[in-house]
Amino acid sequence: MDALNGLFYGLSVAFEFHNLCLLFAGCLLGTLVGVLPGLGPVGAISILLPLTFQLPPAGAIIMLAGIYNGAMYGGSTTSILINVPGEAASAVTCLDGYAMARHGQAGQALGIAVFGSFIAGTVGLIGLQLIGGPLSVLALKFGPPEYFAIILMGFTFIVYLAQGSMIKAVLMALAGIILSLIGLDPITSEQRFTFGNIHLFEGISVVSLAIGLFGLAEVLVNLEKTAPARVLQVKIRNMFPSKSQWLRAKWAIVRGTVIGFFMGILPGGGPVLSTFMAYGVEKRVSKHPEKFGHGAIEGVAAPESANNAAASTSFIPLMTLGIPPNVVLAVLFGAFMIHGVTPGPLLMTQHPEIFWGVIASMYMGNVILLVLNLPLIPLWVQVLRIPDKILYPLIVLFCLLGAYSINNSVFDIGVMLLFGVLGYLLNKFDYETAPLILGFVLGPMFEVNLRRSLLMSQGSFAIFVERPIALVALIVCAILIILPLIQTIRKTSRPIS
């Protein structure tokens, strides 16, 4: 099925009444979650996952993708109005969005964020539609050595693009791999680190882990804060940016879209990092960089475009290679598996209704979100006024129910609690949790492909350099490892002036 026929087929799936309702519900819930500070898309998808258990896989994934995109749109509202990002990918928007709101331009800031998101999200989807098919066909030729090398490249990117210490990011990714090894050995079915506990035979549930690290931990971190965030008392009048604002923002949207497009595909990149990069580039190319941080509309347009483009294109590696490039997609990977669908090169042929249905529904979701966001912003402002004393206990309740519903097991609540406390402590000790969950999801694939490759080659590592794709991936790994080393050596050898 070519890209155009695939899209038409996908539209026929997405236009089915129940899928349309699920998409709408997903977009609405996602925006709500994106608006609320303290619960990002990872927590939201994990917590709301049980709601999809009774649904057919296509509808469930359509709804979850709607939640993800909705959260990307909704996050900017909180950043602009209370200077607290609704989710990490909107953190940069605070800088100029809040400044614009204080200057009485909250409407225009929200407006450009929504329009930029729509344009970039749509461009990202076109990329997903065009690249997805050919990449799936190519990926069918991959064997264990290629997969091993690509996953290794993914790990290297995750560490290279880490926002804090690289050593800590490595430790987190490795810890994630170790956690993923709990359970039965995938090749010999021997028990590993189960301590005889029957609940651990199938390993730790990715959903319990994600809810703990990204839902409960967030609540615990927020509970200890002494001062709650305050919503700016502004009247939102005109949400359509003026002609001069459009002229200033148009190239920011273009550049943000391009950056987001490529960062979304890169493992470890994703929406969050793309916003920082887009903002940095915009500031660098601007004739008035001094205006950034004081209400420059480009400072809102670029990151908001980047995070939505990245959100769309991050589906490319997941749906074609079966490799989640960022933490949200890692949880979505878990959701696919729970619904009995394995994302990867066979997805397009075995489940075309999901592959094309999700792509088509994301196009429609972009339109729904554009329509939903502009008129509903006053409603989201009211949502922001929900006091923390009501919000946080309710999030905890959803976390409990989300963890329990996976296997109807209290044990999973215990696991979620354990990782909630761990996430809280990791936050205190300045560790990022994203590499951990990526290590956790990629770990089993990494192990199986390494062991199968070694079995194929009778213990020779030459198999990884004899296959061109694996070799290219390993060269990229080497470059990514050598680059920071060179930078460190240069820094240390520079004489102190």
Partner: protein
């Protein structure tokens, strides 16, 4: 020196040594036939290396950026700890007294911890527990623990 790196580095070191030793008993195998302990062993070995690097760098940088980070001042960490403790008790009593009673009690404590007055907290906790029970039991068909009380 950043005390956070020192503490976390040691914790990583200790845990990875445990994993490495356990992996040996699982059987590491050979490159021609890697066994169940192969991956955990080499991964834990890498953790040992990187936690040692973290520790060495932290100690080496003590003169450059001598700082001790106080993670517990200026925050109400007691609230977070109490919430975590309440959740631990919840996990233990949930199968015994059932979802409705256990969740009502937990929510009451959480609302109270979030500085809600006692009467609204009681009402809100009952409302949240009953509503979620109805949603999950009757609409989503998720059997919630009933316990000895039968609900």
């Amino acid at each position: 020196m950043d005390n956070r790196n020192l503490i976390s580095g040691m914790v990583f070191l200790g845990l990875s040594v445990f994993v490495a030793v356990s992996s040996i008993s699982l059987g590491i195998g050979h490159l021609t036939n890697p066994r169940a302990g192969f991956m955990p062993f080499w991964t834990s070995l890498l953790i040992i290396v990187f936690s040692l690097i973290l520790l060495v760098l932290t100690v080496a940088n003590r003169s450059v950026q001598a700082r001790r980070v106080d993670m517990w001042s200026h925050v109400h960490w007691q609230k977070s700890m109490m919430a975590a403790a309440a959740l631990s008790v919840y996990v233990l009593i949930l199968p015994v007294i059932g979802y409705l009673a256990a969740t009502s009690l937990l929510m009451l404590l959480l609302f109270w911890l979030s500085s809600m007055k006692i009467l609204p907290a009681v009402l809100a906790s009952l409302f949240a527990a009953v509503l979620s029970y109805g949603l999950f039991s009757f609409i989503l068909n998720t059997p919630l623990p009933r316990g000895t009380l039968g609900f």
